[in-house]
């Protein structure tokens, strides 16, 4: 049979707002060309017409399942530029909320991996357990997914009463769910058949292609912005960076589940040792930072977010460049899918955790 050109297009149950042009020969993919850009909304340009505080609802919306991750880097950048010093309690609260978001995003990832692999239970359980975390976030921040909670200088409101007990109970609940996930997903022989030795990314290739996040850590590279350039309270909290050596889809899945466990560890430590004090630094609501450029990195659930902010001393930024992890992982598509089976396409695609809105901005 001659080569078929398949359009795993924007209208497809398995692709999100993203197009993959796949050349198939029988059951083997000979070429896979990603075609992003269907959801480009000009976020970077729009950010130039909003003040620094007003940018926050804008910037958290491309990545709704992990909104705190992208805003974190922005807020760090603005603080460095404006010379704001964040109080300790605010640092701990920010770490707590960022880790809750990381868990939420990874559970969402697990659920959609279930859809891609045809495992309907793997779809339902993580979404249900994510509700526990979303409920927690709703009590603390007021919204379920896009919180507008981080601001340059700290956070917008303090933790409500009784939050610590509820959070510890939620962590206990999740800790009891992880062995269930292990027995029905991760150690499921059919899941191992589908993801072992599929989409192998060696360590050298991972570094050469410039991928970030769990994709990089699944290939054995120990790179995590929380350890390499610690920000806020991460240098005072103990946690490990999950790294696995094989570089296949299975390692990437294990990395993410291990990151859920490490996030639970961080959350428990933060809840035990959070200091009291103010939760927001005194700062004008219309910031006029000094002229200059600043670069800031933060580790979101999908990878490293980096912001490059140029300010001319006015109340709106002059240029805001966003480097999102999904866009950084795009070269891996073409590289990994060449020569694999057609049925491995969704396995590899989602193991890279590509989020079209975040890549297109």
């Amino acid at each position: 049979m001659s080569e078929l050109v398949l359009n795993v297009g924007p209208q497809h149950p398995g692709s999100g707002h993203f197009r993959l042009i796949i050349h198939v020969d029988g059951d083997t993919i000979t070429k896979a060309i990603p075609d992003p850009g269907y959801v480009h909304r000009g976020i970077e340009k729009q950010a130039e017409y909003r003040e620094y505080l007003q940018n926050i609802p804008l910037l958290e919306r491309p990545v709704i399942s992990d909104s705190n991750g992208s805003v974190y880097a922005y807020v760090l950048a603005v603080e460095r530029l404006a010379g704001l010093k964040v109080p300790e309690r605010a640092q701990y609260i920010r770490v707590l909320m960022a880790e809750l978001n990381r868990m939420m995003s990874h559970l969402y990832w697990l659920a959609i991996y279930g859809i891609f692999l045809g495992h309907s239970t793997m779809f339902m359980w993580p979404f249900g357990d994510r509700e526990v975390l979303i409920d927690l976030a709703q009590r603390a921040m007021g919204q379920r997914l896009t919180y507008s909670f981080f601001v340059p200088g700290g956070v917008r409101s303090d933790l409500p009463d009784g939050f610590k007990d509820e959070a510890l109970r939620a962590m206990e609940f999740l800790g009891g769910r992880l062995p269930e996930y292990d027995s029905i997903f991760v150690s499921n022989p059919l899941f191992l058949d589908r993801t072992r030795k599929v989409g192998i990314l060696s360590r050298e290739d991972a570094i050469r292609l410039g991928v970030v996040g769990p994709t990089l850590r699944g290939s054995g590279v120990d790179a995590d912005a929380r350890k390499d350039e610690p920000y806020d309270a991460y240098d005072r909290i103990e946690f490990d960076v999950a790294t696995f050596q094989d570089g296949d889809c299975y390692s990437r899945a294990r990395v993410r589940i291990e990151e859920i466990k490490q996030s639970m560890r961080i959350v428990k430590q933060v809840l035990e040792s959070i200091p009291s004090g103010p939760f927001r630094a005194k700062s004008p609501s219309v910031l006029n930072p000094q002229r200059g450029n600043v670069y800031a990195r933060a580790e979101a659930a999908r990878g490293t977010y980096a912001y490059f902010l140029t300010s001319l001393g006015r109340r709106m930024p002059y240029r805001l460049k966003i480097s999102s992890p999904s866009f950084r992982n795009l070269p891996a598509f073409e590289f990994l899918m060449k020569g694999s089976h057609l049925a491995d396409m969704p396995t590899i695609y989602w193991s890279l955790d590509y989020w079209p809105l975040e890549a297109d901005r």
Binding site: L4, L6, V8, H12, P13, G14, S15, V24, D27, G114, I115, F116, L117, G118, H119, S120, T121, M122, M124, W125, G128, I184, N188, L190, F191, D193, R194, H341, L342, A343, D344, M345, P346
Partner: protein, 324 residues
């Protein structure tokens, strides 16, 4: 008068019990039961509002909804074959029902070679799928249809061979005598290998998880069913579930002793109870396993199930010659 009651009772058997009427009602119940069972495994509720009791009328609501939808035939599709394929599938599934007895007195067409005919008719299903896939004129349908063709053809062989062990033990192709010869011991204890092979091959023939690669949503939208909408899709789904029901009753009669059971319960009811149990077993993998890739599935069929069924035949031959 006497000349009229025979065909009349035959007609009643065909249309009501154990024929179409009962089968279609059971299929409706099966659809609801599957959704509820999966929902329970997934910590959610399943159908709830259609019908007073826990959404029991939900399959009927879905069927009525499908009746209301437009039947879209793609412009470049082969119209005749496109509309023929669902009917063909339905005919295949329903014609098996005529040969399967629910009890010695509840059978539409008893035959000495019932099993042979059933296997032969089941082996026609790849043809129906290919007709549907080709007539759709759609790349995804083509890929899905070819995968389904590979799958159903490969698994038809272990299906047929696993039945051979039972036939050897009971000495006849007729389903009546197969069930009668299980009076002392059910064949699932004498032929565990055959039962496992038949179970897995039946799951693959029905394109159920973990063998539902032909309709893998995330790669080939709906596989060979992609272009079917409205009642066309309803007929395909009904045909699949009727085949499910038929294969489950077949499993009961081949391995679980069919209608044999203690007296106060009528034999037909025993068949139904055991079929219910088999259906539950066949639905559970849907909540527990992801789907296999096509090459892994074909490898399973050819390198594991086929040798196992051959080994099963050899063991049965040896056992029968010992007992003779």
């Amino acid at each position: 008068m006497l000349g009229l009651t025979e065909p009349l009772s035959n007609l009643l058997q065909i249309l009501v019990f154990p024929g179409l009427g009962f089968a279609l009602t059971f299929v409706l119940f099966m659809v609801w039961y599957e959704r509820k069972l999966l929902a329970k495994v997934q910590v959610r509720v399943g159908p709830l509002y259609a019908g007073r009791f826990e959404g029991i009328l939900q399959p009927i609501a879905d069927f009525v909804k499908l009746l209301f939808k437009e039947i879209i035939v793609p412009k470049q599709a082969d119209r005749f074959l496109f509309m023929l394929a669902p009917t063909f599938m339905m005919a295949l599934s329903v014609s098996i029902l005529a040969l399967i007895p629910l009890s010695p007195s509840n059978v539409i067409a008893d035959s000495n070679v019932a099993i042979l005919v059933i296997i032969a008719v089941l082996s026609l299903s790849p043809l129906a799928i290919v007709v549907a896939a080709w007539a759709s004129n759609n790349k995804y349908s083509l890929i899905g249809g070819l995968r389904a063709l590979h799958q159903t053809t490969s698994y038809a062989i272990p299906l047929s061979l696993s039945v051979l062990g039972v036939v050897l033990m009971s000495g006849s192709f007729s389903l009546m005598s197969i069930v009668e010869s299980q009076r002392n011991a059910w064949f699932i204890m004498l032929q565990p290998l055959g039962a496992i092979v038949f179970f897995l091959a039946a799951l693959a023939e029905l394109e159920r998880v973990p063998f539902d690669i032909p309709e893998a949503e995330t790669e080939v939208v709906m596989g060979w069913e992609t272009e079917y909408s409205g009642i066309n899709y309803g007929i395909i789904m009904t045909a699949a579930y009727v085949k499910f029901y038929a294969l489950a009753v077949l499993f009961t009669e081949l391995f679980l002793g069919g209608w044999l059971g203690p007296e106060p319960v009528p034999p037909a009811l025993w068949t139904i109870i055991k079929t219910f149990f088999v259906i539950t077993l066949m639905m559970i993998p849907r909540g527990v396993y992801p789907r296999l890739r096509i090459d892994q599935m074909l490898r399973l069929g050819w390198t594991r199930l086929l040798p196992l069924s051959l080994v099963n035949i050899i063991i049965s031959l040896v056992a029968v010659s010992f007992m003779a």
